[in-house]
Symmetry: none
Subunit: 155 residues, 2 copies
DNA sequence: TGGGTTATTATGGGATACCATGGGATTTGA
DNA sequence: TCAAATCCCATGGTATCCCATAATAACCCA
């Protein structure tokens, strides 16, 4: 199934609302999740967002440990305590909560980045930096692969 | 289905009451439990709270030991002796008992932390400290999971 | 192909409902 | 009988609903 692809930047209004890109909305409708499941990424200044697919992924992670154990508690606090179940209004908008603001540095604009089974929410400038860095790393990895394969097996 | 998610901090009033976050209340309604089941966490300065889902987990724990055995009795006392069945008033508030005060150090504010099948009740400052530690542990646990699984998915 | 028409989308703002909180009044229980 | 718990109502702030509008994209028919 086609998931979240491409990226969009929309403006926040005076009430802290922002339109979720229409293509993303139709994916969410197909997914069937009521609202929008959001979780602060532990790796970067972005928020992961999605529906049942994302939630299933998170549940899978936490189910690896027995409930009521210290390990499970720690993981549950890091995962579910950092999550939010946002609502989408009749016009396809979400409200950026203070939690998301703090974690992303969003002020007046939001960049939505499709990542197939989920999408990410970024402060536009931070996303540009992150993408530049990611591309730099990807290039380095590729050239490393190429030099390794030149003296050995094909990739 | 999404359970208790996100975290909220509310004020205690002069009578020792505090509003249970509305999203948590609607989860409790779905769960069908009358009131709020509370039990002091053995791992940390927090109180576990929830409905039938939490109660089921605790029962599962104690049933792992044969009934009438000394182990079972000890566990039953530890689990059920330390628990309370609080009631929720018409406005969705609970009263913080002295037992909970002693165990958590709560004075004038309460942080509610969603953990899917249950939520925890914390003194706000203690929660911040614990969460920082929990995030470190969770990151380590998650990266271990990912390297263990044959093909890691992108996060 | 092209020009006009209709849908869709992002954004703005007013009105309303909900929620956290405070406090008085009433009941319960020791 | 007194204190504590419970019920009930009031209120300010916030989030949600609903409708309007401009810009863009899709469509249709000649």
């Amino acid at each position: 199934m086609a998931g979240f692809v491409s990226h969009f930047t929309n403006r926040l209004d005076a009430k802290g609302r922002v339109s979720i890109p229409a293509p993303f909305r139709s994916v969410l409708v197909r997914d069937g999740f009521e609202g929008l499941y959001c979780i602060a990424s532990p790796h970067c200044a972005a928020v992961d967002a999605g529906g049942n697919d994302l939630l299933a992924e998170i549940n899978k992670r936490s189910e690896a440990f027995a409930k009521l154990s210290p390990d499970h508690d720690a993981l549950a606090i890091a995962l579910f305590g950092a999550s939010e179940n946002l609502r989408i209004d009749g016009d396809g908008r979400m409200t950026i909560s203070d939690t998301i603001r703090d974690h992303t540095g969003i002020t007046d604009q939001v960049t939505f980045v499709g990542m197939n089974y989920k999408f990410q929410i970024w402060e536009p400038e931070k996303f540009r930096e992150f993408r530049a860095e990611a591309q730099r790393r990807a290039l380095a990895m590729l050239s490393e692969q190429r030099s390794a394969s030149s003296q050995g097996e094909p990739v």
